[in-house]
Assembly symmetry: C2
Homo-oligomer: 591 residues x 2
């Protein structure tokens, strides 16, 4: 069975050496000293390895079952969920007014990582609840907040997001679920929703469904969509649970992975719903959940790769196979460990340098969200809005790719379920699809985010990269970072220029290159992170840090990324500059 | 449920327009006219879509079961296997002396593709038998051939390959299974073998295991390994089945995919074995099977991508979601089909251009094998020996990647098992691992094949590419092919030069880039194939071919590959030239 240990030392490096959280002018950050964050994250890591990780394979093997309308989660999930509630892990960044701990989002993010690495399917139950909490928190009336939030903060009640219908996922304007207004101000919701994660289960007293539906007579398409709170059990005025609402689970899907999470078909049959936010402004409210959800999915991408990498590394050190061509390394054994072989190294370094880079980008992204919200900083808001599709698309693609590479280290043992490596790949696969398939992320990035506010945010991003390069121009130790980053950033700008020059005449010239652009920008972001991390590591060493090996390893890992990953940017640029012609040459019939 | 139709028109294009099989000076090729190959391949395609494809999901869902030592294959497999035997599909290229049809290997390869696309797990039962047939055919005594081959040609008896043991896969020198010589000239084989595909099942009267084992007292390591025939049932002198041999199935593995094939732990407990070939020369005999097996696995890589692509394409034409940004294409519908969107096009073109290129490379490779064997052509033998790791490693990596892309076209519907897209990805995944994990293919290529016969074969390959470019230098219609191919080939040579200049001093300088080199060479091979295919298509059009659309589509698809895939070569070169330093920088403890 695979094992998992939270890389808490790396969390601390990011929070304190890289992001210097306690020195930020963001309300609440002043309390984030090393001792405090260390204590929280050590404890989160402990829960992850001791409680959640042992249930990962159990969840995959048993899956969820539906019988007579009742969904049962895998053995042990209920107790583990109780442990999460008892430990307050569901409430880290929630508002203290509703029982939360009021910590910054960056701390929530850091504490989530070990849970996601240890057991992604399990963690989705609280992850979705957190998203629903946010939507109600930002768009609910006071009464709605008082009714639902205290119970959702503790996960006594969990939440769901209901968007997809059988005939529409990406194009929600085609939605058929309808919400008919009643005289008492409530609505009756009728329709079918599919792919509803945690749609029904046995770990909470109530489930608060957030459902997109159309109010008859409203505008056509996406502009006529509203958001509704549809609880599984109606809630009485005194907060106690009332009648069962007209919502039921139709079936649970058989999936490639995340078997521990119940993916449900939900049938709404005149269910009582309460409007959340304004009529016909449902998409706006839903996006409150979705941007946060996308960052969460970006985290899933690298967090699964982290878990897979840890096991691949252990196997590479343990498994004896072949001899080092430059000289025997394990003369007393029948063969050398796999890790002596250069191609195994390449694979492990790919994994390690991606995961650590993506973690830095995600933590930084979370801090930008804190800054945007708590300081009302429009620039931070614009920047994270620009970066969200990159984080989601790039990190989940690469996270899956790295989980597959980790599986590959095991050879045949990676393909059989016994070692658990297949599960990491199968679970990681979903992150490329849900919360907006990665092609949609690329479309959002190139079709929308680049031009947002007159292109201000992408220009600010380029300026930031340029300044980073300039800052270390005279530091010879940083040359292995500055030069590749400068080149990659230039290539990214050149791609943006190509879109501007050609996309206006023919949008396909831009959209044919959107996926490549997303990946290119992902590499530039990780290149920026590695440059900053290398500088932070050098600073720590200069200041006489004790753990010299940790910082030296960090720098060496970064050098690998710059040398061996950033060259992808030139390839993506060449593809982009080849234009739309070959992409669009065939008529549909010619395929 | 996914569907499958054999692309027989493309098979015919490759055999006749590209390879011009009936004009070759290879014995037996003169009979391969269009009518004959068309009739055979149409029929193979029919069996594949009507008999095998409907059982693909069944095999995945039911899997194989082991009860009291008996393995049961999924419902319908037995009848389908009988249909394959009855149709003579197991015997295409086998020697007529033993009941085969004696057709060229290239015809066997072409006929295999639809079977593999339709049901990979099922087709492995005959695929492994074919490999075992080859080993006995090339290394067996006359008596052994007479005893086993006629029954194996018909698949009344199936075959297996037994290499891996729990503690060794790649490094077979560590093998523990032993074969003790008996006074009657037989051996007693004792040990445990794992990952034995089709190791036990209910579709054949006997199973002929080919088992690697060590004869006590022989040389240490890989040089002391011999190959044995170990039948499940001993065969009496009259050919009838005798006693059950001391071999039994210990368990069947739970795997990520290919559930329809029984992957067995096989226990040999003093089983009677017959030496195949010479003592201690087992690896040589096994390699007869393995090179052929590797080409077969290379075919699996793109054949799964073909099946996945066909379904992704159908879905992209059918599923209505969003509108074409350049203008509505389906005004009477609520939305346009997915295929209007540039990023969906990019994905479909990636898939299509890879599959068709890989098919060409595989068919060409099969013809080289025919030439090597039937004409005793050492140059053809050297070339296919060089290309085998490229075909296996590149095509299975890309095949999996394309199956994943095809799955992605379905969005959430790709992740649930209902649509069958997950199975294509899960099944395709194994091809990157078995018959030598792809890292081993890269090692074989760079560590062994490049320098084989003084580098003669790789030089010949470069010369061939150069001549191809030269031949079309004055044809403006070919510019979109010649220029990218020339550039990519030059980059590949530059990478080879880097290895030569640096790898002698430090082998890690070459081996750190082996995986990139394998992919680079894969792209150059497909670039070469596309150049030749484009020329063949132009020739056909010039000659007034009727199906203009087919040939124009072929050229357009090739132009996509050259513009959008060959740029990967420059990236691989940059990675290779960054050297071993960053790859090997960390000590094992630093990870």
């Amino acid at each position: 069975m695979p094992s998992y240990t939270a890389p808490t030392k790396d969390y601390q490096f990011l929070l304190h050496d890289l992001l210097k959280v306690s020195e930020q002018d963001i309300p609440g950050f002043e309390d984030l000293d090393r001792d405090f964050t260390g204590a929280v994250l050590e404890e989160a890591g402990k829960v992850a390895s001791e409680v959640l990780a042992p249930l990962n394979v159990v969840g995959d093997t048993e899956g969820c079952t539906l019988e007579n309308g009742v969904v049962r989660t895998p053995s042990g999930f209920k107790d583990a969920f109780q442990a999460m509630k008892d430990g307050g892990w569901t409430a880290i960044d929630c508002d203290p007014e509703y029982g939360g701990q009021g910590l910054p989002y960056v701390m929530h993010t850091a504490a989530q990582e070990p849970f996601v690495s240890a057991n992604m399917a399990f963690n989705m139950y609280q992850g979705l609840t957190h998203g629903a909490y946010s939507a109600i928190f930002h768009h609910g009336t006071d009464a709605q907040k008082q009714t639902y939030l205290p119970k959702m903060v503790t996960c006594e009640w969990t939440g769901t997001m209901n968007l997809t219908e059988p005939h529409c996922g990406t194009d929600l304007g085609l939605m058929r679920t309808k919400a008919e207004p009643q005289d008492d101000g409530t609505y009756r919701v009728t329709g079918q929703k599919i792919f509803i994660s945690a749609g029904e289960h046995d770990m909470a007293d109530n489930i608060i469904h957030l459902v997109l539906a159309k109010i008859p007579g409203g505008p056509e398409g996406i502009k006529g969509v509203s958001l509704f709170i549809v609880p599984k059990f109606l809630v009485n005025e005194d907060g106690s649970l009332g009648d069962r609402n007209g919502v039921s689970v139709g079936k649970i899907e058989e999936k490639m992975g995340i078997h521990g999470n119940a993916t449900c078909v939900m049938n709404y049959d005149g269910a009582v719903g309460y409007l959340l936010g304004e009529e016909h402004k449902g998409m706006r409210a839903m996006f409150t959940m979705m941007n946060e959800a996308r960052l969460g999915v970006a985290l899933q991408g690298y967090a699964q790769a982290e878990a897979a990498y840890q096991n691949a590394l252990a196997y590479a050190k343990d498994r004896l196979q072949g001899r080092d061509v430059t000289g025997v390394k394990n003369p007393d054994g029948p063969a050398d460990p796999l890790i002596v072989h250069p191609d195994i190294r390449r694979s492990l370094m790919d994994q390690k340098s991606f995961v650590e880079g993506a973690r830095a980008l995600t933590f930084w992204g979370a801090m930008l969200i804190d800054r945007a919200h708590k300081n009302k900083d429009a620039e931070a808001d614009g920047l994270i809005s620009l970066l969200t599709p990159v984080l989601k698309g790039f990190q989940t693609d690469k996270g899956f790719e790295m989980a597959v590479q980790a599986q590959q280290v095991y050879g045949g043992h990676g393909y059989i379920e016994e070692w658990g490596m297949s599960q990491f790949a199968r679970d990681a696969r979903i992150a490329m699809i849900y919360e907006g398939a990665n092609g949609i992320q690329a479309l959002d990035l190139v079709g929308r985010k680049l031009a947002q506010d007159g292109g201000k945010h992408v220009m600010a991003f380029f300026e930031m990269v340029k300044n980073e390069c300039k800052a270390h121009a005279d530091d010879p130790r940083m040359a292995g970072f500055v030069e590749p980053l400068k080149a990659a950033s230039k290539q990214l700008q050149q791609a943006g220029m190509f879109f501007m020059q050609n996309g206006v005449k023919n949008p396909n010239e831009a959209l044919s290159g959107s996926y490549d652009f997303m990946h290119m920008m992902g590499h530039v972001c990780l290149g920026l992170m590695w440059t900053r991390m290398a500088k932070a590591a050098h600073d720590a060493l200069d200041a006489g840090a004790e753990d010299v090996t940790f910082y030296e390893t960090k720098i060496a890992t970064g050098r690998y990324y710059m040398a061996r990953q950033l060259p992808a940017c030139a390839m993506h640029l060449a593809k982009i500059e080849s234009g739309a012609e070959t992409v669009m040459a065939l008529s549909a019939d010619q395929f």
